[in-house]
């Protein structure tokens, strides 16, 4: 289905190179360690990642969460960290039809606002932080 190994073009050192295995990127980007607390802040940030325009997270205090993507509660039980990493880096590597934006990609995009050109939405460190946060969102044990 998908080529097993895809290397992201290293654009001015801003996009980490990675290896896709099945539907996952197993190795942390640039070997970085993620921090779940920072990751939650990234997910909630309305200026940058803006995940909540499309997703709901398990927190009743947050208003106006979107319903374009699946709710992220329990996602750490459904997907491995590597699978989450791939979906945040570039979901089209797994499903070309994916609606979700690629957060760590700069190539092959059309008509990008000059202010954002050649920059991924999230840095390698931010991706790792998000992966750490989401991996810890486990389904409640019954």
């Amino acid at each position: 289905m998908l080529a097993l190994t895809l290397l992201a073009a290293p654009v001015a050192g801003q996009v980490a190179s990675f290896t896709v295995t099945g539907d996952a990127i197993e190795a942390p980007l640039d070997g970085l360690q993620g921090d779940p607390v920072r990751g939650e802040a990234v997910v909630r940030n309305r200026e940058t990642a803006n995940c909540l325009i499309c997703h709901a997270i398990p927190d009743t205090a947050e208003r106006f969460m979107g319903e374009i993507g699946p709710p992220l509660a329990g996602v750490g039980s459904r997907l491995s960290p590597g699978q989450i990493r791939l979906r945040v880096v570039d979901p089209t590597l797994w499903n070309p039809q994916a609606i979700m934006p690629a957060y760590h990609r700069t190539e092959g995009l059309v008509r990008v606002d000059p202010r954002y050109r050649d920059h991924p939405v999230l840095s390698a460190q931010e991706v790792e932080d998000v992966v750490a946060y989401l991996s810890a969102l486990e389904a409640p044990r019954r």
């Binding site: 909540l52 325009i53 499309c54 106006f64 969460m65 979107g66 319903e67 374009i68 089209t92 609606i99 934006p101 690629a102 995009l109 059309v110 008509r111 990008v112 606002d113 000059p114 202010r115 954002y116 050109r117 920059h119 939405v121």
Partner: protein, 245 residues
Amino acid sequence: MTRGGWALLPLLALLLGAAEIRPTSEYLSPEIRAAQEDPSRHPGWLWVEEGEALWRRGEPSCATCHGNIAGMAGVAARYPMVAADGTLLDLEGRIERCRTQHQGEPAFGRESDALLALTAAVALQSRGMPVAVATDGPAASFLEEGRRFYETRQGQLNLSCGQCHDDNAGRRLRGDVISNGLGTGYPAYRLEWNTMGSLHRRLRACSLGVRAEQLPLGSREYLALELFLASRANGLPVEAPGLRR
């Protein structure tokens, strides 16, 4: 086809995966929808009244050539359209032409209160009438351009218009319910803007939303896109002047 056959058409469209296109008013909250119908609760009516006054002002005035503004019924439903000289004109563009060529006055300028006011007043005359833009003849190549723009994934967030306005219509994007993105309610008073605004201003907001280049008001790209949006709305009612959150 029999009556029963026609009744099955929507079901058939669903089975074929064709996106169903619904009038924008059906996506509005009940409060906004009610206020859109009620001049006493629709701040856009200030622009309508100003537009009706402008219609009668000047030498010659719009009314000198066109008579009562009620005679404009059905006009907005046919825009954008290709003018005799091959230019694709939206309603604003047409009004600016009358202003410069027939009234000998400087153009109002896109997004000026005067142009929004006249456009709203003219569009109101078509309220409830079915959109009926021409898509053949000289319009065909513009339509194709607009379709390509609509279907192209774009911006840093790599989304096409249709991924939101077809695939996710009816769902919530943060606080908004996504409509089919028809443009039938423009110019519209948007509470977030605190003023009346054009369709192209709204398109710039969607471009910004996906972090794509924002094109100029009245640009060829947005005009062609507007024609494609209107072609999707053919047969559905004009709702201008709209009210939006």
